[in-house]
């Protein structure tokens, strides 16, 4: 264990909060919103890996891998949707896409 577990947790918390801020602030650009989600997921991965290291179990790393696979699936779909929506509306502003309300 190179550093106290607590420090890793604090780092992950900071990273998560930054991702959250990114998601909440960038409503004018859906690309930035997706980047915020990536940051949050990375924070979660850091947590898993740190836990795996702390308890000496491989399970945490396995879940980090799962997150990674899931993220790639999510990103590919999300970006495909961004392309599709941009083709329809010529904008990436999140609040423009509110048709589901009706």
């Amino acid at each position: 264990m190179i550093v106290p577990f607590t420090h890793l947790l604090v780092l992950a918390s900071i990273l998560f909060s930054l991702g959250l801020i990114c998601v909440l602030v960038w409503r004018s650009n859906i690309i930035m919103l997706l980047i915020g989600i990536e940051i949050m997921l990375n924070a979660a991965m850091l947590l898993f890996v740190a836990g795996s290291n702390h308890w000496g179990m491989a399970d945490g790393q396995v879940f980090a891998l799962m997150i990674m696979a899931m993220t790639s699936a999510e990103v590919s779909l999300a970006l495909a949707m961004v392309v599709y929506l941009h083709r329809r509306k010529r904008t990436v502003n999140v609040d423009e896409f509110s048709e589901l309300k009706d």
Binding site: R27, V94, D95, S98, L100, D102
Partner: protein, 629 residues
């Protein structure tokens, strides 16, 4: 025996079901044939049951209500009382069914009519044959429903529908009493079987039996139109005449008396109840007779006479003379059915004119109706030696036999009523059938032909009414058939000395003949015309009082209906519209506004959703961090 009993009940129901389900598809003759055939089949079944009858039997036909220690199976009880009533009901109703074919010949709703008529008979037979009180109550309510539907048969006129409703509601008051009595009996005795209840009278304190007896009396008052619940019966004339005949003669109104007779071994333990029954009966008899004296409507005269005659039966039950009550019930069924059916012929012939003062001279034009009607009137008036004389005499003798101040008074009332009965029945005869002396004859519509089947039905009833007395001739003239048949029911029997009885009979016949003579003095011959012209003038206060049925209707309107309407108006306008509806409206408005407010949150903007989700997450995490240490 069992099959016969089951058939008695099932056949009318079968007819009703067939007519309800298939009646529209069948030709008219088939419907009429079915309706009549099932009732006559029922009569044959009753006859075979009577032939093979030996001792009172309980027949178990199937289970019905059964849970814990409550059990009310479909079990039928056959004893002399129910057997004689069954024979009478099926026979009289069979005649009435045949008569209806003629009477309803022009009516398009004949399917409904015959189905209901069959159902009526079936319900009454259930009532009569029931071995336990819930089954009796089933028949009781079935009879009530059918009477409601048949009185309001021509429901397109508001007056008829109202009469049906009135009958239903007024009898309902009595039904409540009966229902309470049934539940109370089960609570107290732990059984609902009539035979067991009748044996357990001594197990209960007299006060309890008295209270139960009063509740049963209330039920009987409603069903049998006894004072003070008699107001529905005159209005029930709105129905077709065969229905009136069936209600008055065979089925509905006798149910109350039957209930009292059936339960008398139990409630007779309380002298108070017996006295109350007797007083009710005597008062009702007097009331009906006085009202019938001045009534102008032919059918309403008969209705009031029914009230009066049922009062006699109730009086007999109150005197403990079950045989006399049964005897009068049966004879009354014959002659009252006869009178009603004959009145139906008259009304048909007069183009549905029911005012007796517009009739007249029918003796010549309708001889086939006149003679049976005369027989009926003789029975009703109690002229010896018709059946009506013997049965009424039996009742008066029973009241005399009881002795004491109360029963002597009741005997006197009964005698006065017999006098009045003779007057009004012959007033009816003289005015309806008497020769017309006026020159305005051509103003009256010509008499139309009456279907032969209608007049033909009068003959057997007339014969039975006239010779009905042979069923139970008094002890001094021989042994009564019914008396020995029903001996098990009233153990007391007749203790009167032959000479006393003869004296009583003499008094009764003198009174009846005096009544007929009085009627002739007032209405016979030439005086008929004066009477009619006098009727056109303003009626005197006494006549007005009697004609309005002693203002009972008005009294009830004032006592019950007005306050009820007033209360309803308050509940409707103030409570329902003012409080409940208003509150609901306000609540709905509030909810609608809240919904719109909340709906504004769902504005479709992803950023707003994300923000609120983050806020929720922050709240949860902050809760864990600070509030839940």
């Amino acid at each position: 025996m069992k099959t016969a009993l089951e058939l008695i009940i099932l056949l009318p129901f079968l007819g009703a079901i067939v007519n309800i389900l298939l009646g529209r598809a069948l030709p008219r003759r088939m419907v009429e044939l079915t309706a009549c055939a099932v009732v006559w089949g029922s009569f044959i079944a009753a006859l075979s049951a009577a032939v093979s009858y030996s001792t009172p039997t309980v027949v178990y036909a199937g289970s019905w209500l059964s849970s814990f220690n409550l059990s009310a199976p479909f079990s039928l009880y056959i004893d002399p009382l129910s057997l004689s009533l069954c024979l009478m009901i099926t026979f009289v109703c069979g005649l009435i069914h045949l008569y209806s074919i003629g009477y309803m010949a022009d009516d398009p709703c004949y399917v409904r009519f015959f189905a209901l008529l069959n159902l009526f008979v079936g319900a009454m037979l259930v009532l009569v044959l029931a071995e336990n009180l819930p089954l009796l109550y089933l028949g009781w309510e079935g009879v009530g429903f059918c009477s409601y539907a048949l009185i309001g048969f021509w429901y397109k006129e508001a007056k008829n529908a109202t009469a049906g409703r009135k009958a239903f509601i007024v009898t309902r008051i009595g039904d409540v009493g009966l229902a309470i009595a049934i539940v109370w009996m089960f609570q107290h005795f732990g059984t609902l079987s009539i035979t067991q209840l009748n044996q357990s009278g001594l197990q209960a304190p007299t006060e309890v039996v008295t209270a139960m007896g009063f509740l049963l009396l209330l039920g009987a008052m409603g069903k049998s139109a006894q004072a003070p619940l008699m107001v529905w019966l005159p209005d029930a004339m709105a129905g077709p005449t065969p229905v009136s005949a069936q209600i008055h003669a065979a089925t509905m109104v006798t149910a109350g008396v039957y209930l009292l007779m059936r339960m008398f071994p139990l409630i007779g333990h309380s002298p108070d109840v017996a006295a109350a029954i007797a007083v009710t009966g005597a008062f009702t008899a007097f009331y009906g007779a006085t009202c019938a004296l001045v009534e102008r409507d032919l059918k309403r005269i008969l209705a009031f006479s029914t009230i009066s005659q049922i009062g006699y039966m109730t009086l007999a039950v109150g005197c403990g003379a079950i045989t006399a009550a049964t005897f009068h019930l049966i004879v009354h069924a014959f002659f009252k059915a006869l009178l009603f059916l004959a009145a139906g012929c008259v009304i048909t012939a007069m183009h549905h004119e029911q005012d007796i003062f517009r009739m007249g001279g029918l003796r010549r034009t309708l001889p086939a109706t006149f003679w049976p009607f005369l027989a009926g009137a003789l029975c009703l008036a109690g002229i010896p030696p018709t059946g009506g004389f013997f049965s009424k005499d039996g009742i008066l003798a029973a009241a005399w036999e009881q002795g004491g101040m109360l029963y002597s008074t009741l005997y006197a009332v009964g005698l006065i009523t017999a006098f009045l009965t003779a007057i009004y029945s012959f007033r009816m005869m003289f005015i309806v059938f008497g020769d017309r002396l006026s020159s305005k004859e051509e103003h009256h519509p010509a008499v139309t032909n009456v279907p032969a089947i209608m007049t033909f039905m009068l003959i057997p009833l007339a014969i039975l009414g006239l010779i009905g007395g042979l069923l139970n001739i008094p002890a001094n003239l021989g042994n009564g058939l019914l008396d020995s048949f029903l001996a098990a029911l009233n153990a007391e029997g007749s203790h009167l000395k032959s000479i006393t009885e003869l004296a009583l009979q003499g008094t009764a016949s003198l009174v009846a003949l005096g009544g007929v003579f009085t009627a002739w003095l007032r209405y016979g011959g030439k005086r008929r015309q004066e009477c009619i012209s006098r009727a056109e003038q303003e009626p005197s206060p006494l006549v007005g009082f009697l004609r309005a049925g002693w203002y009972f209707d008005r009294l009830y309107r004032f006592l019950f209906i007005r306050p009820f309407e007033w209360l309803s108006a308050i509940l409707w306008e103030r409570v329902d519209e003012g409080v409940i509806d208003d509150n609901l409206d306000r609540m709905a408005t509030l909810l609608g506004r809240t919904g719109q407010l909340l709906g504004g949150l769902g504005n479709g903007r992803v950023s707003a959703y994300l923000l609120s989700m983050a806020a929720g997450a922050a709240l949860i995490i902050a809760w864990f961090a600070w509030v839940m240490p």
